[in-house]
């Protein structure tokens, strides 16, 4: 074409740790052995959390639940890069983020058992309540970043969402404002290849999700979402950039939803078992384990200890969640506004 070229864009992918546990040393972020062990322990705890949630649900002790199986590295790896006071806007499938941020486990179980009290974030964290309506929390992250920028308080803001969320108008409006105001925000997409039964290729015709960032004048990057080092590095870099006032970044974590969409879903209706099989070999925890083995950071005893510790934490959390007294009818009313309306008072009386 003889037309003038106005702009050229390259969309890149970052990979550090491969499925055999080998890392690209040139790209490897600085992480101490203790950091790496901590990552492994958080991944393991996340998986234990998830497995227990699924079995509680089967036993009728919990409501509909959205498994994070397979996505642990994309969640723990990114959250590992955050400061405690950073603002986090999660969707409903990011318990690995909660866990890495040290959100009380029993509250997570309480929430998934159908109790709003599980969403009351402890005062020392700035995690927003889980957002069920897909993608609608993205503009909140944008707004929180406007506030952070205005106050110069050096908090960064992170929003998490799935591949399906990229089709929503709110994704667009939130991203666009972040670009215009050059905000300290990092958008992290868990591209787990499925939005219930809709595969990634039917969600959008774009070759990558990462490239969507360029529509808003900032950078997008795809990372291997099952590679905890790549996820960590991309997030860390994006956060440094955000705090330096250099604007937003979009990170597409290329991963896979290993389980059904939720416990109410039957994924055999719409996807092939062999696709799931293929991804098993890319398991994010296995991969880190192989790496640690090579580094001498893993042993059978260590694993046993990690498992034991995880199980104990989960046991305790479940117990605590289930020991909580049931919510009271007035709990429905009390936080509608700061004060009950006259009408609400009357209605409460009538119950």
């Amino acid at each position: 074409m003889p037309e003038k070229i106005l702009n050229s864009i390259n969309i890149t992918r970052l990979e550090i740790l491969d499925a055999t546990g080998t890392v690209d040393e040139a790209l490897m972020p600085r992480l101490s052995d203790a950091d790496i062990r901590k990552m492994f322990e958080l991944l393991t705890l996340s998986r234990f959390f998830d497995q227990r949630a699924l079995s509680l649900q089967r036993e009728g002790r919990m409501g509909t639940y959205a498994s994070i199986l397979g996505q642990e590295a994309a969640q723990v790896g990114s959250a590992f890069a955050l400061e405690r006071k950073d603002w986090v806007f999660p969707s409903f499938r990011e318990m690995g983020v909660h866990i890495a941020m040290n959100y009380p486990l029993h509250l997570l179980y309480q929430y998934w058992a159908g109790d709003e009290r599980g969403l009351r974030t402890p005062e020392d964290l700035n995690i927003f309540p889980i957002c069920i309506s897909v993608g609608t929390h993205i503009p909140h992250a944008t707004g929180a970043a406007m506030a952070a920028k205005y106050r110069r308080d050096n908090h960064a803001v992170v929003a998490y969402f799935g591949d399906g969320a990229t089709s929503k108008g709110d994704f667009h409006e939130g991203f666009n404002m972040a670009g215009v105001f050059k905000l300290p925000v990092v958008y992290i997409c868990q591209n787990n290849q499925w939005a219930i039964s809709v595969p990634r290729e039917q969600q959008t015709a774009a070759a990558t999700l990462a490239q969507k960032a360029y529509a808003y004048g900032f950078d997008g990057i795809q990372v291997d979402g099952n590679d905890i080092f790549a996820v960590y590095k991309a997030t860390k870099d994006a956060l440094v950039k955000a705090r330096a006032g250099e604007g937003p970044t979009f990170i597409e974590c290329f991963t896979y939803r290993m389980a059904h969409h939720t416990t109410a879903d039957d994924s055999t209706r719409y996807r092939q078992e062999k696709e799931v099989e293929l991804w098993k070999s890319k398991d994010p925890i296995l991969r880190l384990k192989l790496f640690m083995q090579k580094r001498g950071l893993w042993s059978a005893e260590y694993q046993a200890e990690v498992d034991k510790k995880s199980k104990a934490l989960i046991d305790e959390a479940v117990q605590r969640a289930e020991a909580a007294p049931p919510p009271k009818p007035e709990d429905m009313f009390t936080s509608t506004q700061e004060q009950l309306t006259m009408r609400q008072q009357k209605q409460l009386g009538e119950l």
Partner: protein, 320 residues
């Protein structure tokens, strides 16, 4: 005649209508391969192909907006919004366009669109999966709002909605999807929009309900001489049937699960207070959800009007 659940009855309506008219297409999230998260569209993809049964991106405004474009250019789209809690992103498309196209084009363009929406509390689901916001859509001139309360009516009303020349919001009570089985004809039949039905006759009070509240109402009136009305179409609603009944009984109780303030019960009550005031023996009572955010499962039984709360109102009204 086969006994069908509401899910099956709706599925049968869609199949039958799609056989009849190839301008009818179905679109929405997971309506194709998955057959809809409640399986209402099950088997349609296999039967009618992916050009007529369209799995869309996750995009409610886009779904309704595209359906409007289809409707205007001569198709008859049946869009599904996965849960009523996710219809709000499409609110603008419904209000600004679906409702107004006929008017804005002075009749040149019409919008024969059905938006199917599972709604209501009672299946212990996550946040925003239990909403009942019918009143919003009743305040939109140009939009019809339909709510079936049984498999038989679900089929007849859905067929009527699909054949209607104007946009219809079709609300499906999830709690009833599989709760009741009922004889449902294989053939296509319609139940006219805009008409209520008297579920049982009675002389001492008129009790009005729709959707899943109808069943609790029918249980609650046992032992009372109550006339029970299933409204079926909320907009435009069948004022004649309501007023005739009220003029006979002189007492009114309205039941709905949406929050009380500005719920559809308000319009019913106001219409009665305007047009049948002199027949009334006592106040017009509303038994509704409270003015709160619809709670998660652990509190949902406190939220929705219970048989007991309805009975209390019936007892109360009988004091007049």
């Amino acid at each position: 005649m086969p006994k069908l659940t509401m899910v099956q009855a709706l599925n049968s309506a869609l199949k039958g209508e799609m056989e009849r008219d190839k301008d009818i297409v179905v679109l929405g999230e997971d309506v194709g391969k998955d057959g809809g998260v409640f399986r209402v569209t099950e088997g349609l993809l296999e039967r009618f192909g992916s050009e007529r049964v369209i799995d869309t991106p996750l995009s409610e405004s886009g779904i309704v907006g595209a359906a409007i474009g289809m409707a205007v250019s001569g198709l008859r789209p049946v869009a599904e919004i996965q849960f009523m809690g996710f219809i709000y992103p499409a609110f603008d498309q419904i209000f600004t366009h679906a409702a107004r196209i006929r008017s804005r084009s002075r009749g040149r363009y019409t919008c024969p669109l059905v938006v199917r929406v599972p709604y209501g509390i009672g299946i212990k689901s996550p946040e925003l999966h239990s909403e009942s916001s019918e009143a919003f859509f009743c305040h939109m001139p140009g939009i019809k709002v339909v709510v079936p309360a049984s498999p038989y009516h679900a089929k007849g009303l859905l067929v009527a909605a699909i054949r209607d020349p104007d946009p219809v919001i079709f609300l499906e009570p999830t709690r009833l999807y599989r709760l009741i089985k009922e004889e449902v004809p294989d053939d296509m039949y319609t139940i006219p929009l805009g008409k209520a039905r008297i579920v049982q006759e009675g002389d001492e009070m008129t009790v009005i309900a729709w959707g899943s509240m109808l069943h609790k109402t029918v249980q609650a009136v046992e032992g009372f001489d109550a006339e029970v009305i299933d409204l079926m179409t909320l907009n435009p609603f069948d004022a004649a049937t309501v007023l005739t009944s009220v003029k006979k009984t002189g007492r009114v109780v309205i039941v709905h699960e949406a929050p009380k303030t500005c719920g559809f019960g308000a319009e019913l009550s106001a219409t009665i207070a305007e047009d049948a005031m002199l027949s009334l023996k006592g106040p017009i009572l509303r038994v509704t959800g409270p003015d709160v955010v619809v709670p998660l499962p652990k509190l949902e039984d406190y939220y929705a009007p219970s048989v007991e709360r309805i009975r209390k109102a019936l007892e109360e009204i009988m004091k007049y």
